[in-house]
Amino acid sequence: MKYVVRKILTMILTLLAVTFFVFLSFHVISGDPATSMLGTEATPQKVAALREELGLNDPVFVQYGRWAAGLLHGDMGTSYSYRMPVTGMVANKIPVTITLTLMAFVLMVVISIPLGIYTAKHEGGVVDRIIYIINQIIMAIPPFFSGILITLIFGRIFKLFTPGGYVSYEKDFAGFIGYLFFPAVAIALPKAAMAVKLLRSSVIKEAKLDYVRTAYSRGNRTNDVLYKHVLKNALIPVVTFLGMALADMIAGSIIIEQVFSIPGLGRILLTSISNRDYPVVMAVIVCIAVLVLVVNMAVDLIYGLIDPRITAE
């Protein structure tokens, strides 16, 4: 329990630090929300008046404090561009990004674990070599490009899905999952390729250890040894990787959302930065940071489950 409490405290501190630095960065880049809102109608007087109205002339700490206080009350402010409450704007995009990332993660696990084990068992075989080459190719292709390729091949040629035809989860849940399938593949592939490599080398290394030889010489069957003993130990570095990969996938989904026209957190983050719509940017960053931190915490907890050696002091 103390372990969990400490982790949560660390999480909160990290969140504060991240959001503060993001907040600070707004004051360094050129362009400001008032000018952005007024566009080509901007005149120095109008801009000054608007800045005063939005409270932009206060010192950085005061503005940050105001925002943080609002956040604790569940109020993420009002969007400068849309004039709508930010909470409403962002809330219905979170499930989209979470679903996309989760689907990608599941696909990654489903592809990489069986493949990793298989290629480790048949090390040096034909299949192993072919998978190795395919892996290298996939790892070299950036997700953006593989997204476009997938759209071309499965969307336009095989017509398995309609490019740009995103279905909202509120309208049709099955269609929603269906549309997200290919984007999830695009995100999952490069990570799956890396996971296969990692698992394969981890299993091979583990299988050469003494206790494994002992187990064989005691008469245990190969497969039993593999799954009951070797795999559990070999999975530890892979779990670390999966944790990092999941965090990375949240970032990757931002790029993929552009290719597949998915209205998740990614798109609104990019346009809000462009428009200097700070309240929205802060809200999205908080969401993403929380997701990543929660994932990392989950990974730490899973360690405790897999390996009894890793327990908190």
Binding site: R83, T162, A174, G178, V259, R276
Partner: protein, 505 residues
């Protein structure tokens, strides 16, 4: 975990996922098209939905369908009565009297009253926060309700072009939330929006005029230029205005590509207050160096219309095609002028281009090559749109910039006013006494022919003093699925969705 059960679970999971995925996989396909259309737009309406406060052209062109003023613009550039049924201009353009049309309804069901008209106009003329929301309204002396069907606008100084500003939207005085809840009198009413996803409108059945053809309109935000063709072909959008000529060429026979003009003046705008562009000879040299035909060939396959001053062809009566010949391409003359100005060995300067406008980026690159011929080295600097608005447009921190400037209404002054010496929007720092005089004469003139003559004089001065290096009015390509027809081009940034209808109606 037992090996066998682990494998079984895994297999079951994979099969389930695949089934769901491939089953639901088709995406949002076209169902019954009988009365809906999905139009792609390149960016969201990241603006207030209050028609008096919106600033981006993208917002304006969509909200045209939701709001109307006392008069309305037609695709020919004329004005027709809208919320007003008739109007009268008296005292040489100093007094405008409008008779309200009977029974015009707002989208919330209430009827438009003279109070609503006065409310809307007063709001735009209000100077308590500095400048009025509609700049031209600073000329309004008073807005009077003569009776519940008549509203009169009295100006401080006569202005025969003032009617053009009466396209200002009429909104209900009772709407407490105009920023996010747009209520107007137009053929379409606002239904809902999801930021960065879509903007949904529906036909307003109580519209006073000819009702719109298509009932459900969804504006889908297509943020990624690379996927527009795929989205069109795949059927998730039926129309996209402003595709590039490359994208137009990629479209199949399922689409009509309609060609119009963008209605803007694309030019290399020069900061007249900064060296070397404070020297007229240098500016003229650059004008002689460029070849607009070559630019149009490279940037848009030869389409586009050359312009010689700050006016584009759709403003029929003001446009002067002869100004295109003020500076015919003449490399020798250009070099001579540079020599006279003291730059015999050429010079180096920066062209700032907003990074979100591909045609301007392409044009800048052609210019760079053309300027090399006269020994001038142009460095292209790409900046974000917001940085452009604050650094270039507001703070005037630039040497030259390549953009397109459009007009927000159909008046001569819309394009020309900014070049008067003390105008707040004079971002090129142009200052010419003859120009100021000519412009002053233009706006104070109440005779239409005389006005036109003075406006043309202004254009001539801009051209002869080479205020900017004028290039073209860009072509606009609208991709429309052949299932639909009826698209009309306007001389302003407008998308008139009410006119679009199914092709087999």
């Amino acid at each position: 975990m037992k090996k066998r059960s682990f494998k079984a679970v895994l297999l079951l999971f994979v099969l389930t996922t695949l089934t769901i995925a491939l089953g639901g996989c088709s995406g949002d396909k076209k169902g019954d098209i009988s009365s809906r259309i999905t139009i792609g737009i390149p960016q969201d309406l990241e603006d207030s939905l209050d028609p008096h406060k919106m600033v981006t052209a993208g917002t304006r062109e969509v909200l045209f369908n939701i709001f109307e003023g006392l008069v309305k613009v037609t695709s020919d550039g004329d004005f027709v009565p809208a919320v007003a049924s008739s109007y009268e201009e008296t005292e040489g353009g100093k007094v405008y009297t409008f008779t309200l049309r009977d029974n015009v309804k707002f989208h919330d069901g209430s009827t438009v009253t003279a109070e609503d008209v006065k409310f809307s106009l007063d709001k735009c003329a209000d100077t308590s926060a500095g400048e009025p929301l509609v700049a031209a309204f600073s000329n309004i002396d008073s807005i009077n309700i003569l009776d519940d069907k008549t509203v009169q606008v009295v100006l401080k100084e006569a202005d025969t072009e003032f009617l053009a500003y009466m396209t200002t939207a009429i909104i209900p005085a009772s709407n407490a939330d105009p920023d996010t809840n747009p209520i107007g009198t137009g053929p379409y009413k606002f239904v809902s929006r999801s930021p960065q996803e879509n903007f949904v409108m529906e036909r307003f059945d109580d519209y006073w005029g000819e009702p719109a053809h298509i009932k459900d309109v969804t504006l889908k935000i297509c943020a990624n230029a690379d996927t527009i063709v795929m989205d069109l072909e795949g059927g998730s959008i039926d129309m996209f205005a402003r595709v590039t000529s490359t994208q137009a060429a990629e479209l199949s026979d399922n689409f009509n590509v309609l060609e119009g003009t963008m209605n803007l003046v694309q030019a290399l705008y020069l900061n007249n207050a900064e060296a070397p562009f404070d020297n007229e000879k240098v500016r003229q040299a650059l004008c002689y160096a460029i070849d607009p035909q070559e630019i149009m060939m490279m940037v848009s396959d030869g389409k586009g219309t050359e312009v010689g001053s700050s006016m584009f062809p759709s403003f029929g009566k003001y446009f002067m095609p002869e100004l295109n010949d003020t500076y015919n391409t003449d490399i020798e003359k250009a070099k001579e002028l540079l020599k006279e100005a003291g730059f015999e060995d050429g010079f180096s300067f920066t062209i700032t281009v907003p990074s979100n406008y591909q045609p301007h980026i392409d044009t800048a690159q052609v210019l760079k090559e053309e300027f090399k011929k006269i020994g001038v080295d142009a460095q292209i600097q790409l900046i974000e749109w917001d940085s452009w608005v604050s650094d270039v447009y507001q703070n005037r921190q630039f040497q030259s910039t390549l953009v397109g400037v459009d007009a927000s209404n159909i008046t001569g002054s819309a394009m020309l006013q900014r070049f008067t010496s003390d105008n707040a929007k004079n971002f090129i720092n142009y200052s010419n006494a003859d120009y100021d005089t000519a412009f002053e004469k233009a706006i104070s003139s109440t005779n239409d022919d005389e006005k036109t003559t003075y406006y043309k004089e202004c254009e001539r001065i801009l051209s002869e003093t080479a205020a900017n290096v004028y290039i073209q009015d860009l072509p606009e390509f609208v991709a429309l699925n052949k299932k639909y027809t009826g698209y009309e081009f306007y001389p302003l940034y407008i998308q008139d969705i009410a006119k679009i209808r199914l092709a087999d109606e």
